[in-house]
Symmetry: none
Subunit: 241 residues, 4 copies
DNA sequence: CATGAATGAGAGTTCATTCAT
DNA sequence: AATGAATGAACTCTCATTCAT
């Protein structure tokens, strides 16, 4: 069965095609992209801008970032920004789009059949949490911007929804195999449990960041063990003491 | 046992004294409040400003609110604002402080002893979710501002922590009574499960707001039943079903 | 009978009520004016801005005028501009509105009955040309802005139309009295002859300005005599010479 | 006798040599032209730019036209513009120069001797108005740019002056032949009457453009008849009615 | 010659904060 | 205490012009 996901926190390891399985068309800043540069030089500048944008966004936050901070970081003129993007939203969309692959966890995908459900669940959670930790700054950024720009709230929602649906299918499978509590609605349970894992990830990797000295330096393996155990319990996996 | 809580979403039904039981000193905008007005007229103006601020914040969001929007709504001059507050943060602190009482759920508090744990849990969740729903706009505001102003991120964290600790004590009690799985760490479990409920509340009452026509019009009782069931399962309450 | 007018050059000596007799509603920048200042200080600042705007517009032209040129001239901060106007168009509208009275020629109005038509015509032309000369810089400004901003093109058109209609009535009267050629359509003739006078005025007072040393320093009385003579001839006033 | 002309509106049917008969040297953008392209390819590009410029200028107006709009329309790179022109003014000069021939009316020229003055005048006016109508968009452009660029104001003035002088000669001829009122100064009368016709043309073909549905769809023949009649009357042509 | 990305000065606009009345 | 006009720093975006390829 698959990993958890997040309606709230959105960024995850779902395979791209699943995300695209959404019916609704993608939102503005992701589609209204300007034409890609034709020359090599152009491609280099654009790449420099996206890279600089990610760095500055992650460092200063979306709102405190001035367009000139980005161009300064990319060592190009203020006006050059507008050759590739129309505004701050659009660079951010480019940053997120570019980071998508990196946000996918290796493989996992669909594990079926005779596999030990508990082991699969644990591996899935570990992969999700590892990916979250790797991209923690970007996740923090996405959370911030989702509070401020409707387009990105929508973006986050879609990613989360894809995850939730995937996990819901996994839960339904397990119910069919008699491994999971048939009393719970798969979709509702998926919402709750996927959300649980993403909140834990957010707290551990975003909020506790730089707070390690303050006591409990979140232990990664303990985190994996806890969420897996609770998830399994919540679905009433049998026989695991 | 007590209600759940939220590290992420913070606003909850914990009694005030528990929040204040934090060791760390309270944060700036909540303490550096100006002296309360001496005259009656002053008290009236200040109250009008706080009321107006809440209305405008909830309607337009923290960031899109200009100070003059607030004074206009309060029907007073722009300059008057500075008689009572030094900036936007400070009015917001006042708004939140004033709303605190209203955010508490009626009673519930500590249910002890021979009570049916499942029933207590359910009642607690219902109370929490009802309070969240009542103050959904304010919760949305707090989430937004926590992404933007460190002082309010801290405020949210404290409220969440108090909840989590309280729920952790409840879990430990249940473990002692043999009602809950002793394998899980009470604190970790509380973080996860409290977070789970708050995410569900956020999704249902903030994000889905105005989306009812789009299909799943979150059923309140179903929500209560689901989170309670998952929570009980996760802690392996015995014998139910 | 009344003076000439101009479809092209618009600004004229028509009495206000005649202009308002237009059916169509007045155009944007003239109506969407911000609320007038309540305090005396505000009134002073606004007046200073309008005065400064007129000066700078007349000196530098509409297009080359920067908002800061106006505020500098008015000795106030850049931001103060926006307390009273939303943009350059709006100050210009204020300037024109304020100048309207000044643009009216003393009286003249409807001269009726037994008066010598030629004398009336001449007095009327003299008054029109004098008013034009007095406000030459403003007329130049209006011509410029009419080429650039549709709202002011419309403004110019309305003023011109009012004049043309008035003169057309005068021509019709003269035809009825047997003083004017009945072959011409009063409206068409008014368009042509009113236009003729306004072009002469524009050439003499706007284009030839500062060119006096270059030879023909337009003689005012000669101008009056010429247009009056041509106008009278064109309508075939009887018996004169 | 010759056609009318326009001091204000300048573009007309005067023969080129008459324009050049001005004493003053021609103005900047018309002389400082870059060397013509040597290669065929260069000639093609230059021609494409001039053609594109005319199209875009007429469509968007001089001020709203960006250099890149022109190069885009000409399907060439932004930089190529500077191979042939130094700035916007210079392309416009090229556009106008290229259009000159097209602006001439077929023939007419000098009609002398025993011809019926009224018929000649009418034919001349018809030719002028037809040429104006054919090139209305360009005339509108010239009016606009004359308000904004001194060089083109001068250009317009010269064209108008040539016309006025030519018509003044015609009037003097008629006075000598006893056909026209000797009281009027030929030059002044020419200014007034030439201006009259050009204003009518401007109103009919530029300002009323696209306004036909709004009522009076300027009838071309009526226009010709009116201005001819008024012109003839103004000069007191004998015998006709 | 052609290309099209890079440049950067400059304009408009917003709004928190101050302060004279 | 209340008022509301005044302030000016800060930021975004445009586009003519240059220049390396």
């Amino acid at each position: 069965m698959a990993s958890d996901s997040s309606k709230v926190l959105g960024m995850d390891s779902t395979a791209p095609e699943e995300i695209d399985s959404e019916k609704a068309p993608p939102v503005a800043p992701f589609t209204q992209l300007r034409e890609p540069p034709t020359t090599q030089r152009g491609a280099r500048t654009r790449a420099a801008l996206v890279k600089a944008a990610r760095k500055v966004f992650e460092r200063d936050g979306y709102l405190d970032t001035r367009l000139t901070d980005i161009t300064k970081e990319a060592r190009c003129a203020a006006g050059s920004f507008y050759t590739y993007f129309t505004n701050k939203e659009e660079v951010l969309a480019a940053v997120l789009l570019e980071a998508q692959e990196d946000m996918m966890h290796p493989g996992m995908g669909r594990v079926q059949g005779a596999d030990d459900p508990y082991a699969v669940l644990e591996a899935s959670n570990r992969a999700y949490l590892a990916a979250y930790r790797r991209n923690a700054k970007l996740m923090a950024l996405l959370e911030q911007v989702a509070q401020v720009e409707p387009e990105f709230r929508e973006f986050r929602r879609r990613r989360g929804d894809a995850f939730i649906r995937r996990n819901a299918r996994g839960i339904a499978d397990l119910q069919a195999r008699g491994v999971a509590d048939r009393e719970v609605d798969p979709m509702m349970a998926s919402r709750a449990l996927s959300g649980m894992v993403s909140v834990m990830a957010y707290n551990a990797f975003v909020l506790s960041e730089g707070q390690e000295e303050e006591g409990a330096p979140v232990d990664f393996e303990e985190l994996v063990a806890t969420v897996t155990r609770l998830w399994a319990n919540a679905l009433r996996f049998p026989g695991h003491r």
